[in-house]
C-alpha cells in the first residue's frame, strides 16, 4: 500500500502518476479538505474533486481542475439570478457537488460519499478525505482574514499572507480509513502540494503526525518549490509571508523530522548538501510534470527513491529487502 498525501493540481498529477504505475487498489490518496466550502448552498471539495477527476481521467487538461469538455450553462443561469460567478463550476462539475451535498445531507460521511463518487467514476484507488469534520482554512492578510477560496480564487491570491489558520481543526480527527491505510503503508509520499495550506491541514488533524511517526514505511516528499518559485499557486508567497525560505531547502526544513527523503528538481541541485545536512536524503531529478509521461516518470523515480530509503534502513537494521510495490507490467 502506497499512501500519498495531496492537495490540488500538483498533488493530483503525482497521484495520477502513481495510479498508473502501481495496482490501483494498492494506492490510497489522503486529500486536503480544508479548502472545502459552501457555494450556492452546495458543498464543494476542490482538492478531492481535482484528485478524483484526475485519477478518473476526466480532468480538464487546460486548467487542471474541473471536468474536461464541461459546459457552463448552470453557472450562466445562476449569474442571471444574481449570483456572482467568481468560482467557476461547470455543468458536469455541478453534478458532483449536488450529489455530495445530497448524500452528506442524508447523513453519510464525507469519506463514504467520496468513495461512492470516485468509485462511480471508475477510480479504483482509495480517495480519502483527511477528515469527515468540516475544516476551513483562513488566510490573514493586510485586508483582514479571508476564507481560503476568497483569498485564492476570488482575489487571485494577490494579498500578502501574514498568517494561516484552520477553523474547526480542533474538532477534526483522522478517519478510520486513513488510519488503516497508513497502518498498511509500505511507502508514504507527500505530493508536491502547498506545504502550508494543502499538506499543513492534513498534518494538523489529530492523529496524522502520530500515525506517520509510528509507521515504519519510508516517507518521502516531492518539493513543490522549483527554482525558488511555486510551479502553481501561491506556495512561494505563503512561504515567504510566513518566514520560510522559498526554496527546496525551505520545504525540507518544514518537513524535517517527518520525512526520510526529499525529491527536488534539477534546478535546485545546488541545495542537495544543505538538505542532506538536515538528515534528509535527496533525489535530484526533473519534477516538472508537463505531460502524463512526466507524471509516471516522477512517480517511478519517487517510488524507487522511497524503496531505497527502506533498503538503506534495512541494511542498517540487517533486515531483508522488500519489494514494496506491485508495479503494473
Amino acid at each position: 500500500m502506497i499512501v500519498a498525501l495531496a492537495g490540488g493540481v500538483g498533488g493530483a498529477k503525482l497521484a495520477h502518476g502513481l495510479y498508473q504505475l502501481v495496482q490501483p487498489h494498492t494506492l490510497a490518496v489522503i486529500v486536503n479538505t480544508a479548502d472545502d466550502f459552501n457555494l450556492f448552498g452546495l458543498r464543494i471539495s476542490p482538492d478531492a474533486d481535482t484528485v478524483m477527476y484526475t485519477l478518473a481521467g476526466v480532468a480538464n487538461p487546460a486548467t487542471g481542475w474541473g471536468v474536461a469538455g464541461d459546459t457552463w450553462n448552470t453557472l450562466e443561469m445562476l449569474t442571471r439570478y444574481g449570483y456572482e460567478p467568481w468560482f467557476r463550476l461547470g455543468d458536469r462539475d455541478f453534478a458532483t457537488h449536488i450529489a455530495r451535498s445530497e448524500q452528506l445531507g442524508a447523513g453519510r460521511s464525507l469519506t463514504d460519499v467520496t468513495q461512492t463518487l470516485s468509485g462511480a467514476l471508475g477510480v479504483h484507488a482509495q480517495l480519502l478525505p483527511m477528515c469527515d469534520e468540516p475544516v476551513a482554512t483562513q488566510v490573514d492578510t493586510p485586508s483582514g482574514q479571508l476564507p481560503f477560496q476568497d483569498y485564492f480564487v476570488r482575489r487571485h491570491h494577490q494579498d500578502p499572507v501574514t498568517g494561516v489558520s484552520f477553523t474547526g481543526i480542533e474538532n477534526a480527527t483522522m478517519t478510520k480509513a486513513a488510519a488503516a491505510a497508513i497502518e498498511r503503508a509500505t511507502l508514504i509520499i507527500i505530493c508536491p502540494s502547498n506545504p502550508i495550506v494543502s499538506i499543513g491541514p492534513i498534518l494538523a488533524v489529530a492523529g496524522y503526525r502520530d500515525a506517520l511517526g509510528r509507521s515504519k514505511a519510508p516517507k518521502v516528499a516531492v518539493s513543490p518549490i522549483v527554482g525558488g518559485k511555486a510551479l502553481r499557486g501561491p506556495a512561494d508567497q505563503m512561504l515567504a509571508g510566513l518566514g520560510h525560505e522559498v526554496s527546496a531547502f525551505g520545504v525540507a526544513q518544514m518537513y524535517r523530522g517527518l520525512i526520510d527523503g526529499l525529491v527536488i528538481d534539477e534546478a535546485d541541485a545546488d541545495q542537495q548538501a544543505r538538505i542532506s545536512a538536515l538528515g534528509i536524503r535527496v533525489l535530484v531529478t526533473n519534477t516538472v510534470m508537463n505531460d502524463e509521461a512526466d507524471r509516471v516518470q516522477l512517480a517511478r523515480e519517487t517510488v524507487a527513491f522511497g524503496q531505497a530509503q527502506l533498503n538503506a534502513g534495512n541494511q542498517q537494521a540487517g533486515r531483508s529487502q522488500l519489494d514494496i510495490t506491485s508495479q503494473r507490467p
Copy 2:
C-alpha cells in the same frame, strides 16, 4: 388587477396570453405548489417554473416545461453517479433549483424566492406560489399511494387514480401576497389546468375559497377538458377515476358555486345548455392554444367574457360599467 389561478403547461399558456394582453404589473398568477418535491437534495417547483419560464419567454416550446435550448450535462453526470434520471432537469433548469434551494435554506419564503427568480428573468407580472408551506399531492392507485411526481412523471400517469390527497394542506395558508392580489382583483380567471391536482390544491389551502367568495370580481374558468379528453396530462383519467363526468360539463359541476362563467371549446358546444342550467354562463370558442397567437386570442376572449359577466351583474344591480383591464395598445 387580473388574478389567474394556474397549474403547469396549460395554465402557463393562458397566463402567457394574459401577460401579453394586459399591462404586466396588473397580472398576478397564483400557482399550484402541491407538485413541488425534493430531488437530488434540491427543491423543485414544477408548475411555478413552467409559468415563470413561459412568461419570461425562455420555456422550451417543444415540451412546455424546462428551458429552451437547455443542455443535459449535469443530469448525465448525476446518472454516472448512480442517480436515476426519471425527472428531466436541464443544466439551466438546475440553476433555478439550486438558487431556490439556497435561498429557502437561508430562511426566505417561497413567495420571496419566486419573486426574486422571476424578476431576474424579467417577468413583471406577480408570480405567487399558492402558499409558502410545503404541500405534497399524493395519488391513490391500485399499486398504492404514490407521490405526485412518481405517479405523473416516473410512471407516466398510467395508473388508475382512486383518490387524491394533499399532505400538509392543513398547515398551509393563503399568502399575504395572494390575499392582496385577490382583494384588488377586477377579474379572476381559472386557467385550463387540472381541476383536481392543479386548481384543487389552491382551493384547498385555507383562505382561498373565502377570499374568492368575498371578491366581487367576476370569476371565469377555461375548461381543460375538450371533446371529452384532457389536452395534456391525466385530468381526464383523474376525473373519471374520482367519479366526475369527463367533459366541460363535468368541469362546470366541479367549479359550480365558485365561477360565474366557463369558457368551453367549440367541440363541446352541445354542452352549453346543460352548463347554463347550472347557473354558469358559457362562452364557446376555440380553447386549443397551438401557438402564441392562440394564447393571446383566448386570453382576449376570456377577459372580454369576464367583463361581460361584470356588466351583466352591473345591469342587474344598476351599477355603471367598468373597464376592468388596461390592455396594451
